[in-house]
């Protein structure tokens, strides 16, 4: 039993990035602080690597048992949902739905699904924080932006902050995706302070060469005390990679979306804030555009 469990674990964990801690496949669930390495094994250049030997690490049997219970529970739920219908919802709901709420911010658990990052990772001076708003009804992303570039000899520009949804994980940490093929627009209810944000949609590509490709579009906030309802059709998102818009544009495929993020980088030093009420999807029947940009080859070889 233990052997088969270990094999299962290895099979599922081998699909993860191979850059992770080598000890992880064998005793991952037993380590108390293994979760922090799950999403990113990025180590900021200049910081020392975490080389605690095996005998110093904290093993916890309770964590292991919790992990087993949680994952088998998720596995059972997945199997049951598969029988019920796509993603656990019935067929009527799946075929007739025109709106869906994907993320709403009503508790700390909802906030934990998002990761906040900023300039500080590369040595800049911006700060960004995420907290619940008044009456626990909204999420407030606030902080300060600073365009002072870090003096490490290679960075030219700086001053950004971003928030990104965590990747969906199924039973035993398998990769799961959002399937938004029923919809054609993104609906956001936000209240900003007039700053222009960018929305990024991460789709998981088949080839690892394309793992940095990103579909982005702008979100212009009006500012002011009134809530702003923004609808952005998915046909408007353009393909970019590493912050550069690509020459060859392709429409966004909605069936394998891994996460969504917001970025602020408008080169204005100072405090910012953005309140998000909820993020939803909309099937706008009046929107018939397939793709907003031309798909022909931009620089033909001839």
């Amino acid at each position: 039993m233990a052997l088969s469990f270990k094999l299962l674990e290895n099979v599922f964990l081998s699909s993860k990035c191979h850059r992770q801690n080598a000890l992880h496949p064998f005793c991952g669930p037993l380590l108390t602080n293994c979760i922090s390495k799950l999403y990113s094994s990025y180590r900021r250049p200049g910081t020392s690597p975490d080389n605690t030997p095996l005998w110093k690490m904290n093993f916890s049997f309770e964590n292991g048992v919790d992990w087993i219970k949680k994952n088998f529970g998720l596995l059972k739920k997945e199997l049951v949902d598969h029988v019920k219908g796509p993603e656990g919802r019935g067929f009527e709901e799946y075929f007739l739905e025109q709106t869906r709420v994907v993320w709403e911010f009503r508790s700390q658990k909802d906030l934990d699904e998002w990761v906040v990052s900023s300039d500080a990772e590369i040595g800049g001076k911006s700060e960004a924080y995420l907290k619940l708003g008044k009456n626990n009804q909204t999420a407030l992303l606030f902080g300060t932006l600073s365009t002072e570039a870090p003096r490490d000899g290679e960075t030219g520009y700086s001053g950004y902050c971003a928030i990104r949804a965590k990747l969906l994980k199924g039973a035993f940490d398998t990769k799961k995706y959002y399937d938004w093929s029923n919809f054609n627009s993104l609906y956001l209810r936000v209240r900003g302070d007039g700053r222009p944000w960018m929305i990024n949609i991460y789709t998981d590509p088949y080839y690892s060469h394309q793992k940095d490709d990103l579909y982005t579009y702008f979100m212009f906030t009006r500012g002011g005390p009134y809530w702003q309802e923004i609808t952005i059709p998915f046909s408007k998102f353009f393909l970019s990679s590493w912050g550069r818009i690509q020459d060859d544009q392709y429409p966004l495929w909605l069936d394998k979306i891994s996460s969504v993020g917001f970025t602020l980088g408008d080169k204005a030093d100072g405090p910012f804030q953005l309140e998000i009420d909820f993020i939803g999807l909309l099937n706008d029947r009046a929107h018939t555009e397939e793709f907003a940009y031309e798909k022909y080859e931009r620089n033909p070889k001839a």
Binding site: Q98, T99, V101, E104, G133, K134, N135, Q137, T138, L140, F142, Y157, Y187, R189, R191, D193, G194, R195, P196, F218, F220, T221, R222, G223, G224, P225, Y226, W227, I245, D247, K267, A268, G270, P271, F272, Q273, E275, D277, F278, G280, L282, D284, R285, A286, Y293, R298, N299
Partner: protein, 424 residues
């Protein structure tokens, strides 16, 4: 083989423009000058290491050579040209000075990088003709590849990178290049080079994204505080029928006794919907003046104050219109003729609710006296304010929009009658 070594050497030399390294033994540059190598590169005079000392005075300085052989730092070139005032004329004069002193434009890459860094200091970073003048510094037709080998190997890579940097600075400031830029780039680098490709990308994407902002900020932004307040209030009111009123103009008065009185400006806005909401407000409940909240317009941050009521619990909401009150015609129509009955665009979520907003204003100073003047001004059109207690929730610095409604420092409740006495 020999040609490849020469190419590598040429690449090495062009890679380190500011510092002349000691040449590898066995390679004589003067011999290479007359070789039949296809690539043409600068005939660099051979110097020994000891004579050359790079003067590093700061981040921006790189060395350039003048005809008489002395090393003139580029920093000095800009200082000499500006003669005190830093403006566009001085900058163009500096660029012309550089172009005039050498027909081969030695050290043009360092000069262009230094010029790009100096542009914000001279205030010319948004001028297209200055960028064209900088691109003019490149010698023409030298970097255009002439055969397939040159086209294959990134011809003059440092110069192409420099051209790309110029275009990237234009892109960062949002300046659209024009025909002259295109002709210059074609003349300098040829049709399929990286700078020309970047120019083509700029010309493709900039027009697409120029008008994508549904709430555009006027360019240039007015400096007058009243005009700025008017524009920003109209923006945040989100209602085209809202009216902007100037309650007080900014005034700096010197009394006879020599004391200076400054009056900050107060500009307020209220739309008919807000007026109606305020008219229906229960005078027993207080209204709150909250602020200051930040509003960003490109790079300027302005602050506004809000007059709002508190959110009523569902039991105390105003009387809903009874749909059966009138049988002859509907009192309240909510027809959305764009959509049919099969379209259901409601979201299954309780939206965050807040109290109604009655008016907004922007003032030069955020103290209670100024805002009290605003409330008095609002009373002209909303007589109910004379009976409603007004609570001031003012923070010393800008606050989040959803501030907690518990007692904060700076809160004061003044019934209207007492304030009216104070004013008199």
């Amino acid at each position: 083989m020999n040609c490849v070594r020469k190419l590598l050497l040429a690449r090495e030399l062009s890679a380190r423009p500011g510092v002349l390294r000691q040449l590898a033994p066995g390679l004589d540059l003067l011999r290479l000058q007359g070789s039949s190598c296809a690539q043409r590169f600068w005939p660099v005079p051979v110097r020994s290491h000891s004579k050359f000392t790079p003067a590093v005075k700061g981040d921006q300085e790189k060395d350039g050579e003048s005809r008489d052989g002395s090393l003139v730092p580029l920093e000095e070139l800009f200082d000499r040209a500006c003669k005190g005032e830093r403006n566009k004329a001085a900058f163009t004069r500096a660029v012309e000075l550089f172009c005039q002193r050498d027909v081969r434009r030695r050290g043009h890459i360092e000069f262009i990088y230094a010029a790009l860094q100096k542009m914000p200091q001279f205030g010319v970073e948004r001028e297209l003709d200055v960028y064209n003048k900088i691109l003019d510094v490149f010698p023409k037709e030298v970097f255009v590849p002439r055969n397939f080998i040159q086209r294959m190997f990134n011809h003059y890579p440092r110069q192409q990178e420099c051209g790309i940097h110029v275009l990237e600075q234009m892109e960062n400031y949002g300046i659209m290049p024009d025909n002259q830029t295109k002709f210059l780039l074609l003349q300098i680098f040829g049709a399929k080079s990286h700078p020309v490709r970047k120019y083509q990308r700029l010309m493709y994407w900039f027009p697409k994204f120029k008008h994508v902002n549904p709430y555009p900020v006027p360019v240039p932004l007015p400096q007058e505080p009243i005009d700025l307040a008017r524009i920003s209030l109209q923006r945040i009111a989100a209602d085209l029928s809202a009216k902007v009123t100037v309650y007080q103009m900014p005034l700096t008065d010197i009394l006879d006794s020599g004391k200076e009185i400054t009056q900050p400006h107060i500009v307020g806005i209220q739309s008919p919907d807000q007026q109606e909401l305020l008219a229906h407000h229960n005078p027993d409940r207080p209204v709150f003046v909250e602020g200051p909240f930040p509003l960003w317009l490109k790079k300027t941050c302005v602050y506004y104050y809000v007059l709002r009521g508190e959110l009523l619990p569902p039991g105390e909401k105003g009387e809903m219109l009874d749909s059966e009150r009138n049988f002859y015609y509907p009192m309240h129509l909510d027809l959305d003729l764009d959509r049919g009955p099969w379209d259901d665009e409601e979201f299954d979520v309780d939206e965050a609710e807040e109290g109604p907003i009655f008016a907004m204003c922007m003032a030069g100073a955020g103290d209670q006296a100024t805002l009290a003047k605003w409330i008095l001004g609002l009373q002209q059109n909303n007589p109910i304010l004379s009976q409603t207690p007004v609570v001031f929730h003012l923070a010393p610095g800008p606050r989040e929009l959803l501030a907690a409604s518990d007692s904060e420092p700076g809160e004061e409740e003044i019934p209207q009658s007492r304030r009216a006495q104070q004013e008199c």
